[in-house]
C-alpha cells in the first residue's frame, strides 16, 4: 500500500484493526492511544525522515506491553508502512508484542520488562544536556509499572537533579493491585516534580498538561483512564 495522503486520528481504527482484526472496539479501549496521538500530533519534535537526527525529541515507551496503539500511531505518522501492521507478531515481522528499537524505525527503546524506561530517560536527558542539547525527553509508563522500584530511584534522582527536559506520562488506569493512596501525582510532587493530573481521554487537556511550564524541575502528567 502506498501512502498518498497524510493520515489522521480517524485512520487509527483501521490501522489498529490490521493487527487485531477488530476495528470496532479494541482501539477505543487502548489506554495509551489518546496521549500517544497528542504527543506525536502536537508535542514531539520528531519526523520519519529524522529518526537518526540527534536534535530530535525522544519518546520512550516504557510500558511496552500492548503496543498496538503505538504501532498504529507510528504508521499514521509515516514511521511505519501500514502494510507492516499486517505482519504483526509473525516470525520475520519487526512488530512484536513488545516494541524493539533495533527493529522498528522511530522506536527509541525496546521495552516489555517494566521499570526500565524512566532510568534510561534520565540518562538520555543528562547525555543530551552534556552535549549542549535541549531536546525534550518524554517517557510513558503505567500506574502498575510504577510498582517497580527502579522508577522510584529515577523519580528521586531526576527531581534532585532538576531535569527540566524530562517529562513522564503516567497512564493511570487503576491497574495496580495495591494502588497509590493520595494519587500517583503525589509520588512525583514530593520529589520536587511539577505534577498534574488530567483526563487521559481528553486530548486537549493532555496537550495543555504536556505544555505545563516546569523550569528547573521535571514534569509528570498523570493521564487518568478509567
Amino acid at each position: 500500500m502506498t501512502v498518498t495522503r497524510e493520515m489522521g486520528f480517524a485512520d487509527i481504527p483501521e490501522l489498529y484493526g490490521r493487527m487485531t482484526g477488530d476495528e470496532k472496539h479494541e482501539w477505543a479501549a487502548a489506554s495509551t492511544l489518546p496521549v500517544l496521538w497528542v504527543l506525536y500530533d502536537r508535542v514531539l519534535d520528531v519526523a520519519p525522515d529524522r529518526v537518526d537526527d540527534p536534535s530530535r525529541d525522544r519518546f520512550l515507551l516504557s510500558k511496552g506491553h500492548g503496543p498496538m496503539a503505538y504501532y498504529a500511531v507510528l504508521a499514521a505518522k509515516g514511521f511505519l508502512d501500514p502494510s507492516l501492521l499486517d505482519t504483526w507478531t509473525k516470525w520475520d515481522s519487526p512488530l512484536g508484542l513488545h516494541p524493539d528499537r533495533v527493529l522498528v524505525p522511530g522506536v527509541e527503546i525496546g521495552s516489555g520488562s517494566l521499570g526500565h524506561g524512566l532510568p534510561i530517560a534520565v540518562g538520555t536527558v543528562l547525555g543530551l544536556g552534556l552535549q549542549g542539547g535541549d531536546q525534550r525527553v518524554v517517557v510513558l509508563i503505567g500506574d502498575g509499572e510504577l510498582d517497580e522500584g527502579s522508577n522510584h530511584e529515577a523519580i528521586a534522582l531526576a527531581g534532585r537533579l532538576g531535569l527540566d527536559r524530562l517529562t513522564v506520562v503516567v497512564v493511570d488506569n487503576g491497574s495496580g493491585t495495591h494502588g497509590w493512596p493520595g494519587g500517583v501525582a503525589a509520588r512525583f510532587a514530593v520529589e520536587g516534580w511539577e505534577a498534574t493530573t488530567v483526563d487521559g481521554r481528553d486530548q486537549d487537556a493532555l496537550h495543555e498538561a504536556l505544555l505545563t511550564p516546569h523550569v528547573g524541575t521535571p514534569l509528570a502528567v498523570v493521564a487518568e483512564v478509567r
Binding site: 528499537r101 540518562g123 538520555t124 552534556l130 530511584e153 534522582l157
Partner: protein, 298 residues
C-alpha cells in the same frame, strides 16, 4: 604501587580530558576518586538507576563508564545490564572492584564470584580480568575508545609483574605434559604451583572473547591434550569454551575456581578464602599433581 582502582580512576579522568564522549556513572562507591565534574554522575545508592542512566547516556551518543562494587554492579541490576545495554544494543564500559572476595570481612553480601558467569550469559560482552595494575590502563584505553560492551573486573589481588596486554593468551612458559591456563591474578599462584612440573602456562587477562586458537596452539605443541583452567571467580566459568576449543581432541579438562557447592560463612582474609577454595598455591599444586603427575622438567 597504585591499586587497580587508582589506575582506573586516573585513566578515565585522563580520557575525559581528551574524549568528550567519556562519562562516568557511580552509585556513591568511589565518588572520592573521581574529579567533581558534570561528567561524573553520582546517582546515590541506586544501582538500577545507575545502569539505566548509563544506558541512556549511551543512547544519547556518549561512552558511559559504569562503576561499583562487583555485586552491586553486576548482580543487583543484572536485568538492567541485560536489557538496557544488551537489548537496546548500546555499548558501555562496566568496571567492578571487589573481585570474588577481596574484602571477606564483609561477608557474602560483598562477594561476587559469579559475576563473570553472569555476564557470560549475555551475548556481545568483552571481559577483562587484569592481574596487575599496570595492565589496567591499556585495557581501559582500548575499551573507552570503542563502542562495544566491556566488563572490566578489578581486584586487590595481583601478580608480582604485569604482562604486555595482548588480544589473546600469553605464553608464559612452555612444557610437554599439558597446558595450564591462569586467568588474571591467578598467574603467580599457578607459576608457583607448576614450578617443578613440565607444563605450558598460558596467561589470560582477557577471557571474552576466549582465545580458543591460542589454547589449541599450546595444546598441539604439548604431548597431551590435558588442560587445567585456573580462574579467580566461579569454578568452571570458562570450561565450556575450553572443551569447545578442543572438541576434535581426546582432551582432559579440569577447572579450578571459587567452589560452587556451599556458601562459606567465614570471614578472615582473602588468603584464608583462597585456601578454603583450594586456590592458594598449595591447592593449585595439588590439582597440578593430580592432572600431570609428578613429571619433572625434561
Amino acid at each position: 604501587m597504585s591499586t587497580m582502582r587508582e589506575v582506573f580512576a586516573r585513566t578515565v579522568t585522563e580520557a575525559m580530558e581528551t574524549d568528550p564522549r567519556v562519562v562516568v556513572v557511580l552509585a556513591e562507591i568511589s565518588r572520592d576518586v573521581f574529579p567533581a565534574t558534570d561528567r561524573v554522575i553520582n546517582v546515590g545508592i541506586r544501582e538500577q538507576a545507575m545502569v539505566g542512566v548509563g544506558a541512556g547516556l549511551a543512547l544519547s551518543g556518549l561512552r558511559p563508564v559504569v562503576h561499583s562494587y562487583a555485586p552491586f554492579l553486576v548482580e543487583r541490576p543484572f536485568e538492567q545490564i541485560k536489557l538496557d545495554f544488551g537489548h537496546q544494543d548500546v555499548g558501555g564500559v562496566l568496571v567492578s572492584i571487589g573481585g570474588s572476595y577481596d574484602d571477606p570481612g564483609w561477608g557474602r553480601t560483598h562477594q561476587a564470584p559469579g559475576d563473570v558467569a553472569l555476564i557470560d550469559t549475555l551475548p556481545g560482552w568483552t571481559v577483562h580480568v587484569p592481574g596487575h595494575p599496570d595492565e589496567v590502563a591499556p585495557l581501559l584505553r582500548t575499551a573507552l575508545a570503542g563502542d562495544d560492551r566491556v566488563y572490566l573486573r578489578l581486584s586487590l589481588r595481583t601478580n608480582a609483574r604485569a604482562y604486555p596486554v595482548t588480544e589473546g593468551f600469553t605464553v608464559v612458559r612452555r612444557g610437554r605434559l599439558g597446558v595450564v591456563v591462569a586467568v588474571g591474578p591467578m598467574l603467580d599462584r599457578v607459576l608457583e604451583a607448576t614450578a617443578d612440573t613440565d607444563v605450558t602456562v598460558l596467561y589470560a587477562a582477557t577471557v571474552r572473547p576466549f582465545d580458543a586458537e591460542g589454547l589449541r596452539r599450546a595444546v598441539r605443541a604439548a604431548d597431551h591434550a590435558d588442560v587445567l583452567l585456573v580462574e579467580p571467580y566461579l569454578e568452571g566459568t570458562s570450561t565450556r569454551l575450553v572443551t569447545e576449543a578442543l572438541a576434535d581432541l581426546p582432551a582432559r579438562v579440569r577447572s579450578l575456581g571459587v567452589q560452587r557447592e556451599a556458601e562459606l560463612r567465614a570471614y578472615g582474609t582473602a588468603q584464608d578464602h583462597d585456601a578454603a577454595h583450594d586456590l592458594d598455591a598449595l591447592g593449585v599444586a595439588a590439582a597440578v599433581r593430580r592432572m600431570f603427575g609428578h613429571g619433572g622438567q625434561a
